[in-house]
Symmetry: D2
Subunit: 147 residues, 4 copies
């Protein structure tokens, strides 16, 4: 049941180099005894923002000088392996594709045994906070994401 956005798993995995560590909190488990399915989306957000900061893209947004904010256009997650309380995961994120005003990002969660726990993808769009319209990447931004 491989995800449609992964053509060749080994190749796909090699593309990742940036990751953040997370540890599953007790409040993130549910009565089935495992990490609740809503939690990876939170981890993706955390990894994504750290990645954008790493690329030098977040300053502009959180300062909000120009009203430009990154919004999530879509997100998806494939749950490969049950994850439990206390597990320490590495959440990897990479750029798969660069649009005029958007980025297609891919995600990979690995546990301490190097097992894949879940994967994902999603598009973010740079948008004007007031008008809701997309804003094209400028030259500086393009250099950041193409580095």
């Amino acid at each position: 049941m491989q995800s449609s956005y992964i053509i060749n798993m080994e190749e796909w995995k090699k593309g990742f180099s940036f990751s953040v560590p997370v540890q599953v909190r007790f409040s993130e488990t549910d009565m089935f005894g495992h990490m609740n399915n809503t939690v990876p989306i939170t981890y993706f957000e955390y990894a994504r923002i750290e990645f954008l900061k790493h690329l030098g893209l977040m300053g502009k947004w959180t300062q909000g000088d120009e009203g430009a904010i990154p919004v999530v256009a879509d997100i998806q997650c494939d749950y490969v392996k049950q994850v439990y309380f206390e597990e320490q995961l590495s959440i990897y994120v990479k750029i798969e594709n660069i649009g005029n005003s958007s980025l297609d990002l891919h995600y990979l969660a690995i546990n301490n045994m190097e097992e894949i726990c879940f994967t994902g993808r999603g598009t973010i769009v740079q948008m004007n906070r007031q008008t809701g319209k997309s804003i094209q990447w400028n030259e500086t931004q393009l250099q950041s994401v193409q580095a």
Copy 2:
């Protein structure tokens, strides 16, 4: 083990008339099989805001015209009875005391069997969002909360 803020339970309960309904979500349970202890604080917030709207106090804040926002100065919760997935609760809230720029609010959660599940209290303060300083209630607001 009665809470220090409840002198006479029967009297205390009679003081409540406003409530909102909530139903415990699956994502709000944890691996011990019950509602996670962090969840009532979320219910208190929901009940509090609906209560403030009911009193006519929220409009000013969410419009943010004057930079005044209500912030939580402190909150506490006493867990009386375990709560489980799917339970339908009534979250009651009442004003216990009115300060110059603050309100002391009390909370009560009741299940369908009329059992007390948890209680709580906490102070909110009207504050200037930029300066962080407290803002006294004006006449209109005082009339709303004293009604």
Copy 3:
């Protein structure tokens, strides 16, 4: 930017009849002033479980007699329109496809103006809690989901 799982939007919308109401909580907003992107996944879970209860499928699972639980195999969400604090949404859910041990469910969130706020889809699988292996639907279950 229509989602790949929606061929004809009008036809797709007509397929929904079951929904649950939700109201966006303050704690579900983020510093960009809107509902955080992680929240719809929580709403999908709530709608999904109410739907499965409606179909008569949850009893077996939460009683856990046989160790069978429904797990989320994948989930995705397309954010069509920004959603704000206090908005009242209807979260629709329907069965798109029935597998041997799985269900492909589709989701639709509509606001009070009948506008589409977000859509989604995802597969759940009936799984043995101990072994992690999928469990085929039995006759009773198949009748429930085909009704």
Copy 4:
């Protein structure tokens, strides 16, 4: 507005030595632009469990051999300073008092500037999961918490 459970702030602060680091997630902010008030309770839980693991008390509970689980009897939080997205906090926790089957724990959150952001306290009780009755600490446990 010092909390009732802090008699002498300097003395009180000196009592802490165990802490865990947290970084405020974007999904933990709200539309007022700061960390939502429900979040510290989640941080307290995380710090508490790491502390109990550090003391050697969690193994028994999560293995669940004897049906004994720690439940939160009450929790409270005093918000001293607004906290924002991305801030890195140290969440300190200490034992204030040892009961027959309970622990009174105190909490302190400090930012990178050594400023107090919020404080808290709360009681946990060792309880039988099935009967809901409290279970006295045994000798091994008492030695762990008195160390």
